[in-house]
């Protein structure tokens, strides 16, 4: 992160030397390499648990990283981002159950529904500041959650979408095959991260940083703050929805918890764990969170208590996420070495 590096007194973005296109190509190559490694993983480790873990990482990772586009890059702390995760899961599940359309069509249609809902909710919410934004997004999330619970004939109420989600083959891909589902989840994760990285590093990404730092000043240099906030709100919703679709495919259903406030809480927790000043912070936070969750729930019934203590450690002890801490430590170490030299 340029901003963080510069804060540590290290040289920041050298515009005369940095060429934008090679950086984009480099990111694409890294993404491709990561995808290849993930895709080959089942050949080395055949554990189904590991593959399940990676699929869950894909779903939660897309959700948490998209939340960071709002929290970390724009300064919009949404307490209701989980509604789009739930919307993705329910939209896709219902589409597959009720209409029987091919998976790619259901995927695109779910994103289109998410786009429409996010546009309406965002248009109302992004006008509000700080705590009001946070609580109104939470209110919308609870509205969607209540709708899911009360519209039993459509959603299955508190039992969720039951009976499984049909997963017909398309383009030679059979998502009822666990390995195919795994590779597809990895592909969606990598593509999603690559797209979000592009957003963060685009001129629009810097517009978001300006709004986060000083929205008033941003408007006095000609930025339409409302429009920029609405744009990122909708984009983030689309990525969260994709996470929900992966989760629906994984569990072959959708449950009210996906759209409950605790889902948004987990997103914020993941961002706190991993850190919000680096792009990959939320992804690291996702891995930590799922490892912690899986381990602690196996060991004790009081997993909430343990997770609470971990939050306190990061919030009060480190006062930053793990990736923020590591990068700061690395920058200090490099500065120290530079001074000695």
């Amino acid at each position: 992160m340029t901003e963080l590096q510069a804060e540590q007194g290290t040289p920041a973005l050298d515009v005369s030397r940095v060429e934008a296109k090679p950086r984009r190509n480099r990111d694409a190559l890294i993404a491709l390499a990561v995808f290849v490694v993930l895709a080959l993983l089942p050949m080395v480790f055949s554990s189904k648990l590991l593959l399940d873990f990676v699929i869950r990482c894909a779903a939660y990772g897309l959700f948490a990283t998209s939340l960071n586009l709002l929290v970390g890059y724009t300064g919009l702390t949404s307490f209701g981002h989980g509604m789009f995760f739930g919307l993705g899961a329910y939209g896709f599940g219902l589409m597959m159950q009720k209409t029987g359309v091919p998976i790619p069509v259901a995927f695109v249609a779910t994103l289109a529904i998410t786009f429409g809902v996010a546009l309406v909710i965002g248009a109302i919410c992004v006008r509000l500041k700080e705590i009001y934004f946070a609580f109104v997004t939470l209110a919308f999330q609870m509205l969607i959650h209540s709708t899911i619970l009360s519209w039993v004939s459509l959603t299955g109420g508190d039992q969720g979408l039951r009976g499984g989600i049909p997963r017909p083959s398309f383009w030679g891909i059979d998502l009822s095959n666990h390995l195919h589902l795994y590779v597809m989840s990895c592909a969606l994760l990598v593509i999603g991260l690559l797209l979000m990285c592009q957003i963060a590093q685009s001129p629009f990404g810097y517009t978001l940083r300006m709004i986060r730092d000083n929205a008033t000043r941003a408007s006095f240099i000609g930025i339409d703050v409302w429009r920029a906030k609405l744009t990122i709100f909708v984009l983030a919703a689309l990525f969260a929805s994709t996470g929900g679709i992966i989760m629906a495919l994984f569990v072959s259903g959708a449950y009210p918890e996906f759209a409950y406030w605790t889902m948004s809480g987990e997103g914020i927790f993941i961002n706190m764990l991993g850190g919000v000043t680096t792009f990959l912070g939320p992804m690291v936070g996702t891995v930590l969170f799922l490892v912690l969750n899986d381990t602690v729930t196996r060991l004790t019934d009081y997993h909430g208590l343990v997770l609470g203590i971990v939050i306190l450690f990061f919030a009060i002890g480190l006062r930053k996420g793990l990736m923020d801490f590591v990068i700061e430590w690395y920058a200090q170490r490099r500065n120290g070495r530079g001074e000695r030299d």
């Binding site: 340029t2 901003e3 510069a6 804060e7 040289p11 920041a12 973005l13 050298d14 515009v15 005369s16 940095v18 934008a20 296109k21 950086r23 984009r24 592009q198 957003i199 590093q201 685009s202 001129p203 629009f204 990404g205 810097y206 517009t207 940083r209 300006m210 986060r212 730092d213 000083n214 008033t216 000043r217 941003a218 408007s219 006095f220 240099i221 000609g222 930025i223 339409d224 429009r227 920029a228 744009t231």
Partner: protein
């Protein structure tokens, strides 16, 4: 040319700007002075869209900007720097300039390209050179000195190539030496850029030394306008603005 016509704004029963009519000729340098609470900052806030006027017109080359939003007004060519430096603390000087040029080129919403855009570099570089910030390009704005933050604030307005530049107390919070350096810089900018500059200032030595034209506001109304010599001798100004100091001196 910036023309203000019968501009008014009230807060409750208080008239912060009361039927103000003024002309700022292209390429002029004008100081706006007045005692505390005279309505100077409100006047700037009305021109730049931070406040909506109750009545009146703000004409820039014949286009009425009254009641428009700050982004619209900026795009029409009115730039502004603030009394308290208004910057983007986490960005470096260079990132700030590049991002501002992006905005001016209507590319702030571009998603498919990477920041920085090649076509924004020259203008950003020029603004940094002009304000003497080129050597601090990689410094994060939050770590700059107070004076440099004020310069960055002005650079942010200037990099957008405004026709009119409004500076709200460019020397606020500075020591004596720094004040003169800043005001020399303002004058240099005005001479080099050939734009209309309007600035609010409390230091009368500075005002009388550099401003060819002065506007005196008092209780939201224009008390008088004119050249420094005329303002200095104006009894109403002495009474309203320098009154306390003047009487104290006379008494001594």
């Amino acid at each position: 040319m910036l023309q203000i016509r019968s501009l008014s704004k009230s807060f409750g029963g208080v008239k912060a700007t009361d039927n103000v009519t003024l002309d700022f000729v292209d390429g002029s340098l004008t100081a706006v002075i007045g005692p505390n609470g005279a309505g100077k900052s409100t006047f700037f806030n009305l021109i730049t869209g931070a406040l909506r006027p109750d009545a009146g017109q703000i004409l820039l080359n014949g286009v009425d900007l009254a009641g428009r939003t700050p982004p619209e007004i900026v795009r029409h060519g009115i730039g502004r720097a603030f009394q308290v430096a208004s910057i983007f603390p986490s960005l470096t000087v260079q990132e700030t300039m590049l991002a501002a040029v992006c905005t001016d080129q209507r590319k702030a919403g571009v998603l498919y390209r990477r920041f920085p855009l090649a076509e924004t570099r020259d203008r950003a570089e020029h603004a940094m050179e002009l304000l003497g910030l080129a050597g601090k390009r990689n410094r994060v704005a939050a770590t700059l000195s107070h004076g440099d933050q004020k310069l960055l604030d002005i650079a942010l307005a200037l990099v957008l190539d405004p026709k009119v530049l409004l500076l709200d107390e460019p020397t606020a919070g500075m020591g004596t030496e720094e004040r003169w350096r800043m005001i020399d810089k303002v004058r240099e900018l005005w001479e080099k850029q050939k734009i209309t500059v309007v600035f609010i200032e409390h230091d009368m030595d500075i005002v009388f030394k550099i401003a060819p034209d002065i506007v005196v506001l008092c209780y939201g109304r224009i008390l008088t306008t004119g050249a420094p010599d005329a303002i200095r001798r104006n009894e109403a100004v002495i009474e309203a603005y320098l009154g306390a100091e003047h009487h104290a001196e006379a008494g001594a």
